[in-house]
């Protein structure tokens, strides 16, 4: 049996006397779309940041495709095929959409001299054009990313996360602040990308309709600990989850 794409073991993170994440463990397998849900303050983003090396956990291990990556820097994790999108907008506002997309792929290529004297597009123009077309951003290709609407910037952010050909992408509240039309478009693109490339997703989301229709499996966190795990239907009918999070 192949190793999980992402394996999280007993992650513990404390801020002073507060245990933000309490011994969380889970595996994510190739092609899965895993949802991480829970009320505000349940430790979802802290867990994400521990997985991605942006916070150092007090205990626990993280492995990507069987390789221990605990404590690894975000830039090194990216080179191992781990991408992420952000809750807040994360484009480079004074660069064009095209340059944003190129940048997201260029760090995996070339030598020091090619960075100075090689082709400025790092040979990625065709890939970038394909990615821009896939997210239907062609008409915005040369616009400054900072001039786009919030929803459009979310699409650019997603396109950037996929540009380096990651094996797993962690999406932090992709639906936050996005209007319904754009949200349907974003979901359609994520599902299509997952089907075409077998890329694994881990999604933090508060929009229940979005997460229930997108994910194949869901983990529910409350007060830093896992309180339930299962398919969307199982989670909807789980009394503990209803009491702690979903409500009547």
């Amino acid at each position: 049996m192949t190793a999980p794409v992402l394996s999280v073991r007993n992650i513990e993170k404390r801020f002073g006397g507060i245990r933000a994440v309490r011994g969380v463990s889970f595996d994510v397998h190739k092609g899965e779309i895993l949802g991480l849900i829970g009320p505000n303050g349940s430790g979802k983003s802290t867990l994400f940041n521990c997985i991605l090396g942006q916070l150092v956990p007090n205990a626990g291990e993280v492995a990507v495709s069987g390789r221990d990556v605990s404590g690894m820097r975000p830039s090194d994790l990216n080179k191992l095929g781990v991408g992420r999108t952000f809750q807040q907008l994360s484009v480079f506002p004074r660069m064009s959409v095209f340059d944003n997309i190129i940048l997201a792929g260029q760090e995996h290529r070339g030598t020091m001299s090619s960075r100075l004297f090689g082709a400025p597009d790092a040979g990625l123009t065709q890939d970038a054009e394909r990615m821009i077309a896939f997210f239907r951003l062609t008409h915005l290709r040369d616009e400054l990313a900072g001039s786009l609407s919030y929803g459009q910037q979310k699409l650019v952010d997603a396109a950037m996360a996929f540009m380096a050909g990651p094996s797993i992408v962690l999406l932090d509240e992709p639906a936050g602040g996005v209007n319904l039309t754009m949200l349907a478009h974003l979901k359609d693109r994520l599902v299509t990308y997952n089907a075409e490339h077998g890329t694994t997703f881990v999604v933090i989301e508060h929009n229940m309709e979005f997460v229930m229709s997108l994910c194949t499996r869901i983990i529910v966190l409350a007060e830093g600990a896992v309180i339930a795990e299962g398919t969307p239907d199982e989670i909807r009918s789980n009394q503990t989850v209803i009491d702690a999070y979903l409500g009547g």
Binding site: S75, N78, S90, L103, E107, S114
Partner: protein, 292 residues
């Protein structure tokens, strides 16, 4: 008309050198979100490195220039970033700004005490002979200073916009957390920015010191004018710093020639007040949001 052209070209030449120092303000602001109030001294010190190369080590002028450039990048770029910016930045931008003010005093007093308090002659890169330019008598030095400065700005702009490293540097400046996630080595990009700033300051020094002579207090004037030029043009834009530098250089010369030379030192300050009142983000700058 020929006098106007002469004054205009001379102003552009001086202004383009101010622009090199002003661009340094913009670069450091983008890389570390701080203002380097020792920038003027960064333009003063390299001239003394060259004089040390020639006087103490007996180097020919061209070799002393290379020595001055390399030493400036080491001391005013690498060491400045490693010994001052990196340890102090986590304590806040204001703390770092105060540290750069202290550094300015340290550099000034060190040069004064260890080299000389007197103005020192500095060899010119280009001949000061006049040439006829559309009927105006303009010095070759002015024309070549202008060409060299503008060429440096063009090369820098091409580097930042047309190379992968330049794009990574822009990304690291605009959104360091995301750049890091995408695989950009943000620390290295910030170091490149400080090295480029030191190189620009050195080149500005090599061009302007033959005119002003090498003196420990040169940084006060150059630093102030470059700071104002960066604000007038737009602190977060390289092209803004260029426009600000050129504008101040030209207005300074035009005022001194056609109005009065008595208040020429006040002109940049008047321009600064006007810009802050009318367009605080600067002529070419874009407003930056800050949340509290």
């Amino acid at each position: 008309m020929s006098q106007f052209l002469q004054v205009l070209l001379s102003g552009l030449a001086t202004g383009s050198i101010y622009a090199l120092a002003a661009i340094g303000f913009a670069l450091v602001w983008q890389a570390a979100q701080t203002v380097n109030f020792a920038q003027g001294e960064f333009v003063m010190v390299p001239a003394f490195f060259v004089l040390i190369g020639m006087g103490f080590f007996g180097m020919p002028f061209w070799l002393a220039l290379a020595f001055g450039l390399a030493l400036s990048m080491l001391v005013l770029g690498y060491a400045f970033k490693k010994l001052i910016v990196e340890p102090i930045l986590p304590h806040g931008g204001i703390t770092l700004i105060i540290a750069t003010m202290a550094l300015a005093i340290l550099l000034k007093e060190t040069v004064k005490e260890s080299y000389s308090a007197e103005a020192q002659p500095f060899p010119a890169l280009f001949s000061n002979a006049p040439m006829n330019f559309f009927g105006a008598a303009v010095s070759i030095q002015d024309i070549l200073n202008l060409i060299v400065s503008l060429s440096i700005v063009v090369v820098l702009t091409l580097f930042l916009n047309r190379t992968r490293t330049g794009r990574s540097m822009q990304a690291a400046a605009q959104n360091p957390a995301v750049a890091e996630i995408l695989g950009v080595n943000v620390k290295r990009m910030v170091l490149y920015t400080f090295l480029i700033n030191a190189a620009l300051a050195s080149l500005a020094a090599f061009l302007i010191t033959p005119v002003y002579l090498a003196k420990f207090s040169n940084g006060e004037t150059i630093g102030l004018i470059a700071f104002i030029a960066a604000i007038v043009g737009g602190f977060n834009q390289i092209r803004g710093a260029l426009v600000g530098g050129l504008l101040i250089g030209v207005l300074d010369n035009l005022t001194a020639t056609y109005v009065t030379a008595q208040y020429r030192a006040a002109l940049p300050l008047v321009l600064l007040i006007m810009i802050i009142l009318v367009r605080p983000q600067g002529i070419m700058g874009t407003s930056e949001g800050r949340s509290v």
